[in-house]
Amino acid sequence: MNDQPQKNLIIRDITKSFGSVTALKRVDLEVRQGEFFTLLGPSGCGKTTLLRIIAGLEQPSSGAIILTGKDITALPATKRNVNTVFQSYALFPHLSIFENVAFGLRSRKFPEQEVRKKVSDTLELLEMYPMRNRSPEQLSGGQKQRVAIARALVNEPDILLLDEPMSALDAKLRAQVQEELRRLQRRLGTTFILVTHDQAEALVCSDRIAVIEAGEVVQCGTPLEVYDFPRNRFVAEFLGAANLLQARRVNGGVETEVGFLSLNKQPEWPEGLVAIRPEWIRVGSEPSVNGVHATVQDIVYRGTNFDLTMSPGALRVRTNAFKNFKIGDQVWLELPPAELVVLEG
């Protein structure tokens, strides 16, 4: 443990209601300094509300926001050392790119020389310096996003908040920007909090992910943890498309629609769900542990792999692109016990 005050963010027991609608229910989270943290959930789950509460644009109904050991719950947005990249980017249309980025520094009355230096450096960092004299309407979506990020970062915030920053970009650009964002965050060491409904984006960018459903944090962990060991049905279905099997606990495993499956960990429930990712199911010609005799029902070629649908159970299986299958092929599937996840009831 070091004695220096941690520049971490603690979200303590935050509840937010709009009239009779509860947007957030007793949310507890801790974001560590220098972390790329993602709030992931479907639209309307409350993730943006949580981000706005952290930014100070919304007041929680109850609970506290603690930044670097200080309770900032009552501080307005103007007094928080937290900056936001808005979903629409919200660039000031009447100001040049340079003046947009300089906005926060000018608000705080930095000397002109310092403003010039900091703005130029930040624009340089985001490769937007040549565009500094343009107006926002002359930029493409991706360029606007860079300016919005520069405008927030130039203030050297403790935390950078990103509200679905990729939603206005096309798919190819999005993938590129995600990687860039990740690199930028590593280079600066600033804490980033990203709000997204795109599970792939969350997996690519994040150090840790908090999955939010209907105003509650369902699971929080590294991308690997959340993806491989979903806690419940919602997480299993929201991140990737896991196979969910209705199961009944029996001695040494569970009885399911595809037959008996042995597990490494006995479930606590008598009846519930077990999940397995399509890519973990192995396809062979011989019976093995947790072997299921299956017939190929449907084949989808995706370039990098095949997605097969099997009966029984309409099991989805992902295989590499070298194997050739035909509809009606009889195969043996192996569902390795280590990859079978017991979901909470």
């Binding site: 100070g56 103007t78 808005f86 629409s88 000031f92 608000s107 705080r108």
Partner: protein
């Protein structure tokens, strides 16, 4: 003469043919403006250099007498009376517009923040004065400012007016009347801009440590400028020329240029002098628009 063929919206044509077509589209508008704006204005210009006969008839003698008189030169020496009236008109017009702006921002933000269902009701309340005759609206202030009502009593209590008298005629009553009459002209165009405002810009400014003043100047004003500009023109221009309100609420002592013009065409029967004052008013209005234009970059009417 050789004609250059040009491609215009996928059509092969010549410049001359395009010009001819454009002029034919414009012709009806040009006719309208010529018949009802340019010609009458020209008649006024000519009229303003004529003379009044003994019985109020127009004598077509070219002279600068009307303008000299307006500038205060008469056979009895120089008086600033007319210039004072002109100056007062400009001040009243500017103050009315300014106060209307200051009132319109909170008003329009209030309406825009109502739930969509109730907003209509608030808008109707704002629009109703448009349907009501300006004379009737001004007369309503007679009642409200009469000696027995709380406004006058309060003023008496503070010692502004003697006991038992009304708040009109006075400069105060003129301002009250002007602002209440012209507020909707400023508030409605402003509302159309406020309603469409992108609040993310306000939040972005707050997020970037802007003070309240800076939030207004950088995030709200640029977005509402189009509506505000229309509103300012719609208030500034008619308030310059208004005569009903000062006539009813200002009394004889508080004359504005509108009353002066009305007097010349009415009781005084001095059309040439009235035309000269109208010319001066038109120049003043154009001048104030010009100043406003220079300050606020461009005037976007549409």
């Amino acid at each position: 003469m050789k004609q250059n063929t040009i491609l215009w919206h996928g059509e092969m044509t010549t410049e001359r043919a395009l010009t001819r077509r454009g002029m034919s589209f414009l012709s009806s508008g040009i006719f309208w403006l010529t018949a009802f704006l340019v010609l009458p204005s020209l008649i006024f210009v000519v009229l303003s250099f004529a003379e009044r006969g003994v019985y109020g008839e127009v004598i077509w003698n070219f002279s600068f007498d009307n303008y000299k008189r307006l500038a205060g030169f008469s056979s009895f020496g120089w008086t600033p009376d007319y210039l004072l009236i002109l100056g007062r008109s400009v001040v009243v017009s500017l103050v009315t517009t300014l106060v209307s702006i200051l009132l319109s921002y909170p008003l329009t933000f209030f309406i825009a923040s109502r739930p969509a269902r109730n907003r209509f009701v608030w808008l109707v309340i704002l629009i109703i004065p448009f349907w009501t005759n300006i004379v009737i609206r001004t007369y309503a202030w007679f009642l409200l400012l009469s000696p027995d009502l709380p406004f006058a009593r309060f003023a008496t209590f503070l010692g502004f007016i003697p006991d038992g008298s009304s708040l009109y005629p006075s400069a105060f009553a003129v301002y009250i009347g002007m602002i209440s009459d012209y507020l909707p002209f400023l508030a409605l165009p402003l509302y159309s801009s406020v309603e469409r405002m992108d609040w993310a810009l306000v939040e972005a400014a707050q997020d970037l440590y802007a003070s309240r003043y800076r939030v207004f100047m950088q995030a709200i004003l640029p977005q509402t400028a189009p509506g505000l500009t229309v509103g300012i023109i719609l208030t500034l221009v008619p308030t310059m020329a208004t005569f009903v309100v000062p006539d009813l609420l200002g009394g004889a002592k508080y004359m504005l240029v509108g009353n002066l013009i009305q007097q010349q065409f009415g009781t005084s029967r001095d059309w040439p002098f009235g035309a000269a004052i109208s010319m001066a008013l038109m120049l003043l209005t154009l001048l104030s628009m010009r100043i406003y234009r220079r300050k606020g970059n461009t005037v976007d009417i549409i």
